[in-house]
Subunit: 211 residues, 2 copies
DNA sequence: CTCTTTCGCTACGAGTCGTAGCGTAACTGC
DNA sequence: GCAGTTACGCTACGACTCGTAGCGAAAGAG
């Protein structure tokens, strides 16, 4: 599940040190904070984790795979508490994304691995399952909840529903990422409120508030 | 304007070869296509451009700065033809962004330099003025045009108007980037149409179409 | 006790980085 | 012209990182 290079799964032999995995991933995050993506070296991570460099290469294929696993763990924390309304739930999602993207280790790592993935299909798939899908869960959960509340109509056509969900996910995640990393402006409660207003009601609603 | 390291601007001395600048930037884009960001080396770019490696270092501080300039030139092409309505103009912006992000050289470079900029403030500012602001122009022009058409109300408060413009820009650019690079799905006319519908009318309008 | 796998360690060739030093080329002002 | 100044191409260099190979020792299974 975690290691890119799985143990041979045969019987017998010395088992892998599971604690080393945790130490390596934690050291990776720490190195990301202190050095950033580009200056992070696997040799340095190995030293921090107290393992040999060769052990690292026996478990992960390279820097990208290791970093994806290291930051993916942070996305496990994502949840979507029921805040009572669709608008409040959206703000909750936005603020959770923002909190994760605010961490220095995710800031520098996420964009870098996505950049790598543009010419590495297996890596892209790895990112999708380890990180992206864990975010998308929240969107799907929020929509389901809104439908149960009657805030959104049910969906007869599952194909169209999937397309719309993908669209909404790209809009939410994309906007937060762009705001946080490209514009480099804070994603605070005020911004989340205005974004939610725009998403729910469109440009007309946003205009009614601020113009 | 282009070179990160400006010529001393004093009188006398041999002038810089301007043609070399163009050759270097073109070679950089070519190398990005063939090698991608991570495998691109300055030595390789210098060889392609037919200049010495030292010349490259005399003009640019490093890989990030060079690549930013190389891809920034592509963003000069951005324009916003009047398509007659706000909706059509938005679709035009989306498709123009998508066309740029579809190029392999921008695909791999944009995310990488943004990742670098998370721990390099001057680089971030450079990206802002060279790339981001050239995109934002289109959003501002589209809004102005829509106001002249009467599709959007005028804006008395310039501060609030600026905040809203920033918000809309993050939503549009973020969604397109996320769709194209993270989700790795095509940004075609169909997607652009559905996105525009969502942006103009909000979730309710999107639901009315597909649910 | 044997077989199997992992681990830490050392060492290595290959490649990249960014810079220094040198001689030459190109342009300006006297 | 001629001196002063800057850009250029070239070579060479130490420092660093990469990913791997080889070794002996450790830890479990049967």
């Amino acid at each position: 599940m975690q290691s890119r290079i799985p143990p041979p799964a045969r019987t017998g032999g010395r088992p892998r040190n599971a604690a080393a995995d945790a130490a390596i991933l934690e050291s990776t995050r720490q190195a990301l904070v202190e050095l950033g993506w580009s200056k992070l070296t696997l040799g340095d991570v190995a030293t921090r984790a107290g393992v040999a460099k060769t052990t690292l290469y026996r478990r992960w294929a390279g820097k990208s795979e290791l970093v994806v696993d290291a930051v993916a763990e942070l996305f496990d924390e994502l949840e979507l508490p029921d805040r009572g309304s669709l608008a409040a739930d959206i703000e909750g999602v936005v603020l959770q994304f923002a909190a994760l993207l605010g961490r220095p280790e995710t800031k520098t790592a996420l964009m870098a691995v996505v950049a790598e993935s543009t010419s590495d299909e297996p890596l892209r798939e790895r990112i999708r399952t380890s990180i992206v899908d864990r975010q998308k869960r929240l969107v799907l959960a929020g929509r389901k909840r809104a439908q149960e509340r009657g805030e959104l109509p049910p969906e007869p056509d599952p194909t169209a529903a999937g397309l719309t969900a993908d669209l909404i996910f790209d809009v939410i995640a994309g906007a937060v990422v762009h705001r946080a990393l490209v514009s480099a402006e804070p994603v605070d409660e005020d911004w989340a409120r205005r974004f939610t207003l725009l998403l729910l009601g469109g440009l007309a609603a946003a205009a009614a508030q601020t113009w």
